[in-house]
């Protein structure tokens, strides 16, 4: 596997030179392997959104470098637009960026900007719409007639249709009902599985990260606090709590059980695995 995104000593300062200058990122270095599903977490103001907007050149680093697919983004002679197509970014509340008369035309905005011909654009719109479960009927409607969750899916499809190598999503499920959350996140997971592209998911929900990601990046106070596999990160529950984060609720239960003296594994992050672990523990005791 190769590194698709490499960040080297990245620092970013808001309002430099003003009394309210603040470092949003402070000497951050890490890399993301192609094909990974990386969850990014951190409390509010830890620099998550700032970090991901560096991935496609919306923010220029105060210092440090970013490589995408081995190319230095801010090197002389590089065209930033190439990187925007390489790394597709879905911002927070992306439904507020919709503007076209029909959903299909809004999804087509990105691919059209890439200079693709009409047939290819139409093909990609249909394909992206399928990934997020939008029917042909919905595609011909105005985005402003849709529900919040549907709008959000149109906006995500608009980025998917650009066929980026990395799909970055900033809290794609924020403000949706539980069903809407599950729908959108499992569609993203399915997209990741089918296309094999790298996904970076920013989320406040430990459950979502545990369920979908294979690696977790934890940011705290403009620095990287942890960057490891899901198992390794959630195994450090006390540290996470100290950072103002937590572990999935189901893990909390197992930690508590262990505390109460039960001989049980605590590396449990998802409900199905929890059920299995409990079954196993009960069987071990001879009771079912």
């Amino acid at each position: 596997m190769s590194e698709i995104i490499k960040v080297e000593h990245l620092s970013y300062v808001y309002n430099p030179g003003m009394p309210d200058a603040t470092a949003a990122l402070d000497d951050v270095s890490f890399s993301i392997e192609e094909g990974d599903f990386v969850g990014v977490m951190g409390s509010t103001g830890s620099g998550k959104s700032t970090l991901i907007s560096h991935f496609n050149g919306l923010n220029k680093p105060t210092s440090g470098a970013i490589y995408v697919d081995g190319r230095n983004m801010w090197a002389q002679g590089e065209n930033l637009r190439d990187f925007r197509f390489l790394v597709g970014l879905v911002m927070q509340y992306p439904e507020y960026q919709l503007f076209e008369e029909t959903c299909a035309r809004d999804i087509a905005y990105g691919p059209k900007n890439m200079g693709l011909d009409d047939a290819e654009v139409a093909r990609r719109v249909r394909e992206a719409a399928q990934f997020v479960g939008l029917s042909d009927e919905l595609l011909e409607k105005s985005p402003f007639e849709l529900s919040g969750g549907q709008k959000r899916r149109v906006a995500i499809a608009g980025v998917m249709a650009m066929h980026p190598r990395v799909l970055v999503l900033d809290e794609p499920a924020a403000g949706l009902d539980p069903e809407g959350r599950d729908t959108i996140l499992s569609q993203i997971q399915e997209y990741h599985r089918v296309t094999g592209i790298t996904v970076v998911l920013v989320s406040h929900s430990m459950e979502d990260i545990a369920r979908y990601a294979n690696r977790v990046l934890v940011l705290s106070k403009a620095k990287i606090a942890m960057y490891d596999t899901v198992e390794q990160v959630f195994a450090r529950a006390p540290e996470l709590l100290e950072l103002g984060l937590s572990v999935p609720q189901v893990t909390q239960i197992f930690l508590r059980l262990k505390e109460m003296g039960l001989d049980i594994a605590t590396d449990v992050y998802t409900i199905p695995y929890a059920v299995k672990t409990i079954r196993k523990a009960l069987q071990g005791k001879g009771a079912v």
């Binding site: 925007r84 597709g88 900007n113 402003f144």
Partner: protein
């Protein structure tokens, strides 16, 4: 880039200028502008600039902020200077070419005018740098109160100004967000022909208008929920007080401006 707009930008601090009664600052700024036009002689203008420099250093605002506030009006300054240069006539021409004639009076007046406009902008910027917009509208409402007797909707006007000012940074933020979102989808905002650039604005303006309307709607609802019914009988959390410090400032400013006005009679 949108953040470079300095008009109405507040530069937080805790100097005597920041703490001063906003009504005094407002009246003082107007007086300063009047003085700039009354004291139309080199000494007067020089003293006005010296006063401004003094005030800026008291307020601890970096001088580069002045340059920042002047940047957007450079074309206006050049325009006025050039107009004055060519249209003022005197006795002996300094320079003549084709239909253009320049007189020494023109040169003098052009420089004076340019410097005066710069001082004017720097002076008003000082007001907004040291006074938060909300406090400033409070002062305006307070100063305009006598007009209320003539059934002039003072409170409503002040509330509209407060809301407008309050939403400028929000809308700038929003614009940046939407621009970023569309850039992420490959929008080209600063290249291409004029027509292409205007067309490229559509994906930004439509979401921006929608969000402005949505915000207005939500704000109106929130205000109604809290029983807002206009200015009648409304009290304030922060009542403007004209304290000892303010009296001193007012006296100092009056004396200094008085001196500058006097130069008109001494040096003209």
């Amino acid at each position: 880039m949108l953040r470079d707009i300095t008009i109405g930008q507040h530069f937080p601090g805790n100097s005597i200028l920041h703490r001063c009664d906003p009504r005094l600052k407002l009246v003082g700024t107007i007086a300063y502008i009047v003085v700039l036009f009354v004291a139309a002689n080199p000494v007067g203008i020089a003293l006005s600039i010296a006063l401004l420099a003094l005030l800026y250093s008291v307020a601890k605002i970096p001088f580069k902020m002045i340059l920042k506030s002047l940047k957007p009006i450079v074309p206006v300054i050049i325009f006025t200077a050039v107009l004055n240069l060519f249209f003022l006539t005197g006795e002996t021409p300094l320079f003549q070419w084709w239909i253009f004639t320049i007189y020494p009076e023109g040169v003098r007046y052009a420089i004076l005018m340019a410097v005066r406009v710069m001082a004017l902008i720097a002076g008003t910027s000082l007001l907004t740098y040291t006074t938060s917009p909300i406090v400033l509208t409070d002062a305006i409402e307070n100063l305009l109160r006598p007009l209320g007797k003539l059934h002039f909707p003072v409170h409503e006007l002040a509330m509209m100004m407060t809301i407008a000012l309050r939403f400028i940074p929000t809308l700038i933020d929003e614009t940046e967000k939407i621009m970023n979102a569309q850039k992420a989808r490959g929008a080209m905002l600063d290249t291409g022909s004029f027509v292409q650039r205007v067309k490229a604005l559509v994906p930004i303006l439509i979401p921006l208008f929608l969000s402005a309307f949505r915000r207005a709607d939500e704000l109106a609802m929130a205000m109604e929920c809290r029983c807002y019914h206009g200015g009648e009988g409304r009290t304030r959390l922060k009542v403007l007080k004209f304290g000892r410090e303010d009296v001193l400032c007012a006296a100092a400013l009056t004396v200094l401006l008085g001196i500058i006005v006097c130069t008109r009679f001494l040096f003209a």
